[in-house]
Symmetry: C2
Subunit: 175 residues, 2 copies
């Protein structure tokens, strides 16, 4: 076990600005490319991250603090960001993500005022009993999953363009 | 084929600052973790990116411009950054990477003053004839490969900490 709250927060705090630097001002070619039907482009990944800030991580964390294992987490639609998307620029999305993440991290710090709270448990509808520390570790890894996804999706765009070098580029061989 | 020089440069220009935002100030736990013996930690990945700026991309690009296919690229040791490493902080490494990348992108723009140069060819010791545009596409994808590697290596650190959520986190199932 490696989890420490302050180290997890190091990542949670850096993700929005990291994505803002990498994605702001990119050409439409980079922002719109995906890995085929039913897969997400860069812009949709940011939508998903915003959605998670609103409806997944903090609501579940508060649910654990309030309800414990007494009832399962309310359902969370991982695809809801694909419906009724308002038309906004990538820069607006990145700013929204940064703002809501900063609020959430501030609230996280306030709510977890003691180490022992990390051991509190909740009831996941699919997994059963889960710990609050596992939820926060997952939130952190979830950020990294989607940062990895963004660069993988963009890299795929050059799959043919790299010519024979594809042999050395493992990222182009993954789905 | 999707390659456009200006779009490739968009990525090449963003990588150093993206990594600087994500990696500066991280705890040693994040910077030192790796995926097991013979694998790289975050700090070693940055060393490798610096090495590539010095000895791989621009030297090969210039070699194509000067020599064409007449002789193969000189050998390039992909592991040389692991020897005789000076002890520097991650922040110093990130700054070195940013400075040398900025110089290289400026030189790239100057050298490739016409679109037709993208079609020039060189001779890769393993692959045979390669195009200059393929070299630059590879440089770009190489950046993304190593950004992906950094978040994957860090994510692995929480492999056990996420508990049952590992099932939803594909990044933890890859080498």
């Amino acid at each position: 076990m490696n989890f420490k709250l302050e180290e997890a927060i190091e990542v949670l705090e850096r993700t929005p600005q990291t994505l803002a630097i990498f994605c702001s001002g990119l050409s439409e070619g980079w922002l719109q490319c995906n890995e085929g039907e039913g897969t997400w482009n860069v812009s949709e990944v940011i939508d998903h991250l915003i959605e998670g800030e609103k409806n997944n991580w903090m609501p579940r964390l508060k649910f654990i603090l309030q309800e414990g294992e007494s009832q399962p987490f309310p359902a969370f639609d991982r695809f809801s960001h694909l419906q009724d998307k308002p038309v906004t620029t990538i820069e607006q999305k990145l700013l929204e993500f940064k703002n809501i993440r900063m609020q959430n991290v501030a609230e996280l710090r306030k709510l977890l005022d003691s180490e022992t709270k990390l051991e509190l448990t909740g009831y996941h509808p699919a997994f059963g009993v889960v710990k609050l520390r596992e939820l926060i570790a997952t939130w952190t890894v979830h950020d990294m999953t989607h940062m990895s996804q963004i660069v993988r999706v963009m890299a795929q765009r050059y799959k043919t363009d790299v010519g024979p070098w594809i042999e050395y580029l493992g990222i182009l061989k993954k789905g």
